[in-house]
Symmetry: C2
Subunit: 223 residues, 2 copies
């Protein structure tokens, strides 16, 4: 009985990690399209999104069945609850990647802004890295790694503020740049949201491992 439960649990974990891999690819492709002006990367995003949406439903269903058919211990239950929440966060990260790709389509139809933007490439890298690490922390039950993800969220917020400030100056200096700068502002907001979701995942990992809720505590930023 216990052995069977562990097998089903392992299968659930693998499906969730497969979904995580698809979502990481989506962020990578969206960033590539945006930063290297590679429009062909955008086409791959829609294919992954479809699979992510299927997995979103499938994983919720697996979690429900796992609780209903077995009698999970409290540690098992924390694992299953973490899966439910990570599933929901991953689906929303996928939505954000789709939003980025929609904004990128508009940007690629126009010439590049003259000023080189440094914050956005760093935001893409940081958000993608935070998501990867939050999922690694989940697999390895690595609280220290999860805590490091939570701490990096502040850096992403800082980068977003800098990007906003810079893009607003660009708009004010040249009204022909308004649409493009606005597109980048919205993308910066999407990237910030991805970092927020990675932070949620990291917090869920910490709760799963320690049974201790660190959300909304003074030492963490209230998002």
């Amino acid at each position: 009985m216990r052995r069977h439960f562990e097998e089903v649990e392992e299968e659930l974990r693998n499906r969730l990690l497969h979904m995580g891999g698809l979502v990481e690819e989506m962020i990578h492709w969206a960033g590539q399209a945006l930063l290297e002006r590679k429009e062909e990367s955008l086409k791959k995003i829609a294919k992954n999104e479809e699979e992510v949406n299927q997995l979103h439903i499938e994983i919720d269903d697996r979690c429900l069945k796992l609780i209903a058919l077995h009698q999970p211990t409290s540690a098992d239950l924390r694992f299953i609850m973490a899966c439910v929440k990570i599933n929901s966060d991953l689906e929303r990260v996928a939505d954000q990647a789709v939003n980025i790709s929609e904004n990128t389509v508009v940007l690629l139809a126009q010439p590049q802004l003259k000023r080189k933007l440094l914050d956005i490439p760093r935001m893409v890298e940081l958000a993608g890295g935070m998501l990867k690490d939050s999922l690694d922390a989940f697999v390895r039950k690595d609280v220290a790694l999860a805590q490091a993800v939570v701490q990096r969220d502040e850096e992403e917020d800082q980068l977003k503020s800098e990007a906003f400030h810079e893009l607003m100056q660009i708009m004010q200096a040249d009204s022909s740049s308004i649409q493009r700068a606005l597109g980048l502002i919205l993308i910066a907001r999407n990237l910030e949201r991805i970092a927020d979701h990675a932070t949620n995942i990291a917090e869920d990992v910490i709760f799963m491992v320690l049974g201790k809720d660190i959300r909304h505590h003074a030492e963490n930023k209230v998002r």
Copy 2:
């Protein structure tokens, strides 16, 4: 045993509805501050946010205990899972209301834009109404009402697109309006997200009542 379970379930539902009421107030106050330039309304938002954050943790804890200590039937389990998800959506709506209030502070420090914006007041009303109806649908297990919420999400998206278009024109016509118009664009995005969360709640209600997952189906928009 069954009777005790129902009492605990009822208590959980009441706590979640109390949280929903606090979040509805936050949207109302944020809208009031923005549309009637009532800065004093913003102060109340922070107080509710603190309580919402406490409830977020408390409700998750109640859900876990309810599963661990009782042996929920599959209908009970769908109810508990809906509570977990609605809890998470409500907390995120509260975050969006806080974002609106932060953007509003910046707007209130400057004179009002000359052009009267019609889309934003409608977005505030629609998003607030969708949240209210999604929670009413939850209490009454009202699938038809939940479906009506899902359908109204498209209207909010449409209003957001119109607001974006109008605000971009304002920016292009007068560079001194850029910061204010950008603030309103970000607020329109926040309101759209609130409507998305209300839609998530409505979808969870439908699943809870019917045991049927309507997310990501062709007849619904993929968000």
